[in-house]
C-alpha cells in the first residue's frame, strides 16, 4: 500500500526508499523496504534489535549501499555514496554512540570537517549557532569541553552540528537509549520544534511509548521487513493506548488466535522442595556501555520456570553472564544445589550443572567457521570420550554429533558444515543440544526465541518446558511478555539492573508485570 501512495505524492518526499534490500552473509538485513520521508514529520522507525533499523540508517547516511532497490532524493534516484555525500544532500545523522571528540570544546567539534586551508571561523559559527538555538529554545555552551557535558547536552550538540551543516533530514538513531527520562522529554520537545521549522526527522527507537509520544508517522520493521505503517491522519485519530496496541499487533502478530499462545500447562512445583538455584544480593559494577546490577535475589526450585521480564538493555545480559561466571560480580552469593559457586570459573560452574544458553548465538555461542560437530562440544573440549589423552576422537565426536542432530532435529547438510551457514533456528538447536545434554541442573535461557521463525520458536519453547518437566530449574530471560506468560511459574521484572518485583503467573499477571515494567507498583 505504501508504494502506491508514495509514488503519487513523491514530489513531497525529501527522501524515498523503493524496494531497498541489503544482504549480509547469512541474513537479509533489509528486505524490499519502501519508506517515504517528508518535511514536517517525525517518522518513527520501530523495531526490535536485529529488525534492520541500523542497516537502513547505514544506507541513508551513505555508510552502506543497497543490494537492490533505489533511494530517491527530492524525487530523483540518487546513490548515496559516502557519509560526506549524505551530508551534502542535507542528510545529517546522530548515531547511537556519541561521535564527538571529548577533549575538544563544543565549538571545535562543530568546526571539525571544515576546509583544512581555512582558519576556523569561530565568530561566524557563534552567530549561526545563536540564530539556530534561539529559534529552538535551547542553550549550548560553545566553549565548554564536550567531556564536561551531560549525555543530553552532548546530544543537543550533535543535533546542532547537523543543523549548522544545513541538514534537511535529521536521523536520530536510538537517541534516547542513553538519556534520563527528563532528557527524553526534552529531546521530544526539540524534535517537535525542528519539524515545525520544516525539517524531516527519522527517529529510530525500540520503545513503544516514545514512538507513540513523539511520532507523526510510524513504520514498523520486523526481521528486515516493513510490516506496517501508521500514517499521520490515522496517527492523530488514535489515542496513545490505541496506537501502542496497534503497534504491538504489527510487531508481534495477532494478539487473538495467536498460534504462539499455547495454554499454559499446569505444572506442580513442590513448594517444599529445596531450591536448586539461590541468588542473594548479587551485584555487578556498571561499565561504560552497560548498566550494573544491584541486590538481585531470587530462588528457583526444581521443575520451576522463573521468568525475567523487562525492556531490553536493563541488565538482563549482565545477570545471565554474572550467573554463568563470565562477568565478575562485586558482591552477593550464588548457590547451586546448596553449594556456593560465586567464586568458581565458567567451566567449573558448567561442570556442576549450570548451563547458560546465550542470546548471541554467532557472536559467542558458536565459532561460525567451525563444523557443526565441533560446535556441539565447544564447552567440553578435552573431555572423554571425545578426546582421549588430549587427542581428538573423530569417530566418537561424529557418532555423538549425528545422534544430537537427530534428537534435536538440526537441519544441516552435513556434520562438517560450518555452523554459521545454518539458519538461526538450526544454530539455536545446536546450542540447545549442547546445553541440555546430560548433567544439566539449572539452565539460563537468554532470549531463546529471539530472531527465530514461528516453527522454531514453538519448538524451542517446547524444549524449555520439557527441561523444566525433567525437574531442572529454569531461568527464562525474555523481552517477549507473551512468551513469559505462556511458560513461567513466576515472573520477575528487571529495570535498571534491579528486580523491581516478582509476580506469580496468575490471570492478572499481564497487568501486574506491565505496571512494573513502566515503573508503577504492582
Amino acid at each position: 500500500m505504501s508504494s502506491l501512495s508514495s509514488s503519487s505524492v513523491a514530489e513531497r518526499d525529501i527522501v524515498a526508499l523503493e524496494g531497498v534490500t541489503k544482504r549480509f552473509p547469512g541474513i537479509v538485513a533489509n528486505d524490499g523496504i519502501d519508506l517515504a520521508i517528508r518535511p514536517g514529520e517525525v517518522h518513527v522507525l520501530l523495531g526490535e534489535n536485529g529488525a534492520g533499523k541500523s542497516t537502513l540508517i547505514g544506507m541513508l547516511s551513505g555508510l552502506q549501499q543497497p543490494d537492490e532497490g533505489r533511494i530517491l532524493v527530492d524525487g530523483k534516484p540518487t546513490p548515496i555514496t559516502s557519509p560526506r555525500h549524505a551530508l551534502s544532500l542535507g542528510i545529517g545523522t546522530v548515531f547511537q554512540h556519541m561521535m564527538l571528540v571529548p577533549t575538544l570544546t563544543v565549538a571545535e567539534n562543530l568546526l571539525l570537517g571544515g576546509p583544512w586551508w581555512q582558519r576556523p571561523r569561530i565568530d561566524e559559527l557563534a552567530a549561526r549557532v545563536a540564530e539556530i538555538t534561539s529559534t529552538l529554545g535551547i542553550t549550548v555552551k560553545l566553549h565548554a569541553k564536550v567531556s564536561e557535558l551531560s549525555l543530553g547536552e552532548q546530544q543537543q550538540v550533535e543535533i546542532l552540528r547537523a543543523m549548522v551543516r544545513n541538514s534537511r533530514l535529521l536521523i536520530l538513531d536510538e537517541s534516547t537509549s542513553m538519556l534520563t527520562p527528563k532528557g527524553i522529554d526534552e529531546l521530544g520537545a526539540l524534535m517537535r520544534r525542528l519539524v515545525e521549522q520544516g525539517l524531516a526527522i527519522v527517529f529510530i527507537t525500540h520503545k513503544l511509548k516514545e514512538a507513540a509520544a513523539f511520532g507523526d508517522r510510524i513504520s514498523v520493521l520486523k526481521l528486515g521487513r516493513k510490516v506496517g505503517e501508521i500514517p499521520p491522519e490515522r496517527f492523530r485519530a488514535l489515542g496513545e493506548q490505541e496506537i501502542i496496541s496497534e503497534i504491538v499487533e504489527l510487531m508481534f502478530g495477532k494478539q487473538k488466535d495467536d498460534p504462539e499462545a499455547v495454554e499454559r500447562p499446569v505444572r506442580t512445583v513442590r513448594a517444599d522442595a529445596a531450591p536448586l538455584l539461590q541468588v542473594a544480593d548479587l551485584a555487578v559494577a556498571p561499565t561504560d556501555n552497560a548498566p550494573g546490577l544491584s541486590s538481585i535475589s531470587f530462588d528457583i526450585r526444581p521443575g520451576e520456570i522463573l521468568g525475567i521480564a523487562g525492556i531490553d538493555g536493563n541488565g538482563q545480559k549482565q545477570l545471565a553472564e554474572a550467573l554463568a561466571g563470565q562477568r565478575a560480580a562485586t558482591g552477593g552469593s550464588v548457590r547451586l544445589d546448596g553449594v556456593a559457586i560465586e567464586t568458581l570459573s565458567v567451566g567449573e560452574r558448567r561442570q556442576r550443572g549450570l548451563r547458560y544458553l546465550t542470546d548471541d548465538r554467532l557472536g559467542e555461542g558458536t565459532v561460525g567457521t567451525f563444523p557443526v560437530s565441533i560446535n556441539f562440544f565447544l564447552k567440553q573440549v578435552g573431555a572423554a570420550p571425545f578426546w582421549r589423552n588430549g587427542i581428538e576422537q573423530r569417530a566418537e565426536i561424529d557418532r555423538r554429533a549425528a545422534q544430537l542432530v537427530r534428537d534435536y532435529d538440526v537441519r544441516t547438510p552435513s556434520l562438517k558444515t560450518p555452523v554459521a551457514r545454518l539458519s538461526g533456528g538450526n544454530i539455536q538447536k545446536v546450542l540447545l543440544a549442547r546445553e541440555l545434554a546430560e548433567g544439566a541442573k539449572v539452565v539460563i535461557f537468554n532470549k531463546p526465541t529471539y530472531g527465530l521463525d514461528l516453527a522454531n520458536t514453538l519448538a524451542s519453547r517446547q524444549r524449555i518446558r520439557d527441561t523444566a518437566a525433567r525437574g531442572l530449574a529454569v531461568l527464562l530471560i525474555s523481552t517477549d511478555l507473551e512468551e513469559l506468560l505462556s511458560m513461567c511459574d513466576r515472573i520477575a521484572v528487571i529495570a535498571n539492573g534491579a528486580l523491581v518485583g516478582t509476580v506469580g503467573n496468575a490471570d492478572d499477571a499481564r497487568t501486574k508485570v506491565g505496571r512494573l515494567m513502566i515503573g508503577l507498583a504492582a
Binding site: T55, V346, T366, P371
Partner: protein, 365 residues
C-alpha cells in the same frame, strides 16, 4: 549486524583448512595461490627489464643456484632448518589469532645463548647431552623474552603487534651487547662468540653438507600441525583465534592460553636460532641478524597456517634466497631484490584474495 559478521569473514580466510576441503576447494586454492605467484614473477620480470637486466637470465640463475646445482640445493635445504622452526612458531601464534612479530629478537637471543653455552657444555658432558642442553637454554631464554608481550596481552589487552615488534628491537640489541661484552671469544680480534668445533655440531646428513637440523625442523612443523588440528589443546587455541568471545563463553582460560601461545611461539623461534648456530654457523658474530623471522611471515601466510603447505613455501623461500644471492652477484642486481620479489608476490596475492572475495560475495547476492 554488519559488525558482527566482519570477524567471521576474516576468520574464514584464516581457518579455511579446518572445514571440509572438497576437491573443488583444493583446486580453487591451488589456482588462487599459484596464479598470483606467476603474475608476481612476470611483474618482477618487468622491473628487472626496466633496470636493464634480462629477467630470464635472473630466474635461470636463481633456479640453477638454488635448485639444480648439487651444492646449491644442499645450501637451500640447510637454510630451511631455522626457517621451518620459525614457521612452526608462527603457525601456533597466527592460528590462535596472536600476531607474534617478535621472531627476530627471540631468534637472535636463542642463537646467542646457544652459541655461548654449547662450547662450555661440550667440555663437561657428552656432546649429545651438551647440544640438548643448549637447545633447551635457547628455548627458555626466548620464552622469557616473550613474557612481557604475553602478560600485557593476556591481562591488559595490550596489542601484541606493537609490543612484540618493540621487544624485537630490544632483543636484537641485547643479543649484540651480549656478544660484544659478555660472551666474546677472547681468542679473536673480531667480536664474536667462541666457535663450536665442526665435529661437535649437529651431524650432517649422509655424505652431503645438509644439516640434520632439517629433520628437526620438519619434525617440529609437522608436530605443530598435528597438535593444532588433532588435539584438544590445538582446538582450544583455534577457538581463541577464531572467536575469543566464544572462548570466554565456553569457559576456556583465555589468559593462560595466551601466555602458552606466546611461550610456544617464542620457544620455537629460540630453537630456530639454536639450530642455525649449533647446526651450521658455529658462532654468532656481532651485528649478525639474518632477519629470518620477518621473511618467514609471508611464507606462513601463503600456506594459510597449514603446516604441510608451509614446508613447501619455506622451501620456495630458501630457493629464492640462496639462488637470489647468487643471481644478484652475477647480474649486478641488489641483493635485496629477493625481498622485492617476495613482497610483489604478497601484494598480488592480497589483491587476488580481495577480488576473489568480491566475486564470491556478488555471486552469493
Amino acid at each position: 549486524m554488519s559488525i558482527d559478521t566482519a570477524p567471521t569473514v576474516s576468520a574464514t580466510a584464516l581457518d579455511a583448512t579446518s572445514g571440509a576441503a572438497t576437491r573443488h576447494d583444493i583446486l580453487h586454492r591451488l589456482l588462487m595461490t599459484l596464479g598470483p605467484i606467476l603474475a608476481a614473477l612476470v611483474i618482477a620480470g618487468c622491473i628487472l627489464l626496466a633496470v636493464g637486466v634480462d629477467p630470464l637470465a635472473y630466474y635461470g640463475y636463481v633456479l640453477e643456484k638454488g635448485l639444480f646445482s648439487p651444492l646449491g640445493i644442499q645450501q637451500t635445504l640447510t637454510r630451511m632448518a631455522p626457517l621451518l622452526f620459525l614457521a612452526a612458531g608462527l603457525i601456533v601464534a597466527f592460528r590462535a589469532g596472536m600476531w607474534n612479530l617478535g621472531g627476530d629478537g627471540q631468534f637472535l637471543l636463542g642463537a646467542v645463548t646457544a652459541a655461548a653455552s654449547a662450547p662450555v657444555f661440550i667440555q663437561i658432558m657428552p656432546s649429545w647431552l651438551a647440544l640438548i642442553c643448549s637447545f633447551l637454554i635457547a628455548m627458555v631464554v626466548a620464552m622469557i623474552w616473550s613474557l612481557v608481550p604475553a602478560l600485557l596481552r593476556a591481562y591488559q589487552g595490550v596489542n601484541e603487534i606493537i609490543t612484540t615488534l618493540m621487544m624485537t628491537f630490544l632483543g636484537t640489541s641485547l643479543a649484540n651487547v651480549l656478544v660484544k661484552l659478555v660472551f666474546r671469544d677472547p681468542g679473536t680480534t673480531v667480536p664474536q662468540t667462541r666457535t663450536l668445533p665442526v665435529e661437535d655440531r649437529l651431524p650432517r646428513l649422509f655424505e652431503t653438507t645438509i644439516t640434520s637440523g632439517l629433520l628437526l625442523g620438519l619434525a617440529a612443523i609437522i608436530i605443530v600441525h598435528l597438535v593444532m588440528t588433532r588435539t584438544a589443546f590445538g582446538l582450544k587455541l583455534r577457538i581463541v583465534g577464531a572467536n575469543p568471545r566464544a572462548a570466554v563463553h565456553s569457559g576456556l582460560g583465555v589468559p593462560g592460553l595466551t601466555i602458552a601461545v606466546f611461550a610456544i611461539s617464542a620457544g620455537l623461534a629460540g630453537l630456530a636460532g639454536a639450530v642455525d648456530i649449533i647446526g651450521v654457523q658455529g658462532n654468532v658474530r656481532a651485528d649478525w641478524n639474518p632477519a629470518y623471522g620477518l621473511a618467514v611471515i609471508p611464507a606462513v601466510f601463503l600456506a594459510r597456517m597449514n603446516g604441510f603447505a608451509a614446508i613447501g613455501f619455506v622451501f620456495l623461500l630458501s630457493v629464492l634466497s640462496i639462488g637470489g644471492e647468487s643471481a644478484a652477484r652475477r647480474l649486478g642486481v641488489p641483493n635485496h631484490f629477493t625481498l622485492v620479489l617476495v613482497s610483489i608476490v604478497l601484494i598480488v596475492l592480497a589483491l587476488a584474495e580481495y577480488f576473489d572475495h568480491r566475486y564470491s560475495q556478488s555471486r552469493r547476492a
